[in-house]
């Protein structure tokens, strides 16, 4: 692997993990009766930017390197399911995350101006929980893939 590809992969992982952590913080605040919407709207938008960065950096690595250099080794190794299930699922559900993150950021920005909308706070908390679950599942799948080589 070239240094550039390694840098892209590291950026993909760090940006993704930090964005997942941000969604955890957003969820914890949304579970309060009176969240600090100024704070969580700022960090929710940071999560959108980080997921897009993670998306962009993984794209080049995945398209130019993974399929030819990594995938054949996983399929020929002891844990071919790491690609057949974990990578296939991860690469596809990851496509959804930036859209969901954008929706969460817009919701908390709206709640900043309408803190009295308690039903929206609860729905946004539920959506954030789902995004957090997808994020964690994606990260854990990445660990299986890395550990299978």
């Amino acid at each position: 692997m070239t240094t550039a590809l390694a840098a892209l992969l590291i950026t993909h992982v760090i940006a993704g993990v930090v964005a997942i952590g941000i969604h955890n913080v957003v969820l914890m605040h949304l579970l309060k009766k009176a969240p600090n919407y100024i704070f969580i709207s700022r960090i929710a938008w940071s999560a959108v930017a980080l997921f897009l960065l993670s998306w962009a950096t993984s794209t080049y690595y995945y398209v130019t390197y993974y399929g030819t250099a990594v995938k054949p080794r996983i399929l020929a190794g002891d844990a071919p399911f790491a690609h057949a299930f974990f990578m296939e699922t991860k690469e596809h559900i990851f496509l959804l995350l930036p859209f969901v993150a954008l929706s969460i950021a817009l919701c908390v920005s709206y709640l900043r101006a309408h803190p009295e909308d308690d039903r929206l706070r609860k729905s946004t908390a539920f959506l954030t929980l789902i995004a957090l679950g997808i994020g964690v599942a994606t990260a854990v799948s990445g660990m299986f893939v890395s550990g299978s080589i």
Binding site: V63, T89, H92, F99, S103, F126, L127, I130
Partner: protein, 106 residues
């Protein structure tokens, strides 16, 4: 005025996410089951994953803009709840398909 505009964007991106998520789930399963479709994605977008991403981005952008222009008084909390359910369904379709594929049941 600004709040009304923000309401429209919250609503339109939620609807766009619902449709995009379900479209992605159907496209992903279809591309695995119909080799011609996967070949078309590869030939058109260089890689099937890039094709799925590009189509999802395009559809999401189109629907977000289109629905943001539409007037509505629908409750945002209901739309966001529906979005969460649609995302769960999309993820289950994708993960379920690859699990069945791994078990050689499809």
């Amino acid at each position: 005025m600004m709040n009304s505009s923000l309401y429209s964007w919250v609503r339109s991106t939620a609807i766009a996410t619902i449709v995009t998520g379900l479209m992605l789930a159907v496209l992903i399963v279809a591309a695995e089951e119909i080799p011609v479709l996967k070949d078309w994605l590869k030939a058109t977008f260089y890689h099937h994953w890039l094709g799925k991403g590009a189509l999802a981005l395009g559809l999401f952008a189109l629907l977000s803009v289109a629905f943001s222009m539409q007037r509505s008084t629908a409750r945002l909390s209901s739309i966001i709840f529906l979005e969460a359910i649609a995302v769960i369904v999309s993820v289950w379709i994708i993960a379920g398909f690859f699990l069945l594929h791994l078990l050689k049941l499809v």
